[in-house]
């Protein structure tokens, strides 16, 4: 795959940071259609960007023949977005605490913490064949 493909509420991109903007435009476009508060859209967009960055860099190890899939859905007052990669999975328990004194000045390692802080729910399904993370933001 060389370019993003879109089908309904799903976008699939090759594993390259060159396509981060494509994902953002796609996701924010759908969210704007739901007439959601701008600040909430920003929280979701930030979280999606974090997880797509992780999927590209850590999940798919920047291999362009692997893809990242992002699907947006709305059920009642909940917006859910699933980000899936084709990597080898990971152990969420191994993510370091970015607030620990020894990590505070590091220039990486905050992404997942930010997602957990901004979203109401983060559901991780990770296997040797890939990771799928669904984030949910309640509009209530």
């Amino acid at each position: 795959m060389k370019n993003p493909t879109i089908s309904g509420n799903t976008i699939i991109i090759p594993s390259s940071h060159d396509f981060l903007t494509d994902v953002d435009v796609f996701v924010e476009g759908i969210l704007n259609g739901y007439r959601i508060d701008e600040s909430v859209i920003a929280d979701i967009a930030i979280s999606v960007s974090e997880l797509v960055n992780n999927a590209i860099s850590h999940g798919n190890a920047m291999l362009r023949d692997k893809t990242v899939t992002v699907t947006v859905s709305k059920k009642g007052d909940d917006i859910s977005i699933t980000i899936s990669d084709q990597g080898g999975g990971f152990d969420p328990g191994e993510i370091a605490d970015p607030l620990a004194e020894e990590n505070l000045m590091k220039d990486t390692g905050r992404g997942f913490f930010i997602v957990r802080s901004l979203m109401n729910d983060v559901d991780i399904k990770t296997t040797d064949d890939g990771t799928s993370i669904t984030i949910t933001k309640s509009l209530k």
């Binding site: 600040s39 967009a45 930030i46 960055n53 220039d107 905050r110």
Partner: protein, 112 residues
């Protein structure tokens, strides 16, 4: 993201505009910042007035620049931090690291 840069009273002012989310756009800010540092310009203000939002990649660029400058007796300060970015700085505790000012003028004056 777009980026403008200028100097005022010996202080470098970098003004990114848009979203800082990683990829080529984020590299633009990182590369410009380090271009000035390599020119031995050690007093830098990042003007965040026109940044819609940033993620951890953006925060990482700020931290990296801050640390590099501090290690060479320079300083990186923030101006016009928006509510969204302030919130991120707070939850990541980086609010305790950066000096932030309500305007570019105030940030520039703080170096005197």
């Amino acid at each position: 993201m777009r980026l403008s840069d200028r100097e005022q009273d010996g202080v470098v002012i970098l003004s990114p505009k848009g979203k800082i989310m990683g990829g080529p756009d984020a590299s633009l800010l990182h590369d410009k910042l380090y271009e000035y540092i390599e020119q031995n310009k050690k007093r830098v203000v990042i003007d965040l007035a026109q940044v819609d939002w940033m993620n951890s990649t953006g925060l990482g660029i700020l931290i990296s620049g801050y640390t590099t400058l501090r290690n060479s007796d320079g300083e990186l300060k923030l101006a016009n931090v928006t509510e969204k970015i302030q919130s991120l700085l707070t939850i990541t505790k980086l609010v305790t690291v950066f000096e932030a000012y309500d305007s570019i003028e105030e940030a520039v004056q703080s170096f005197k």
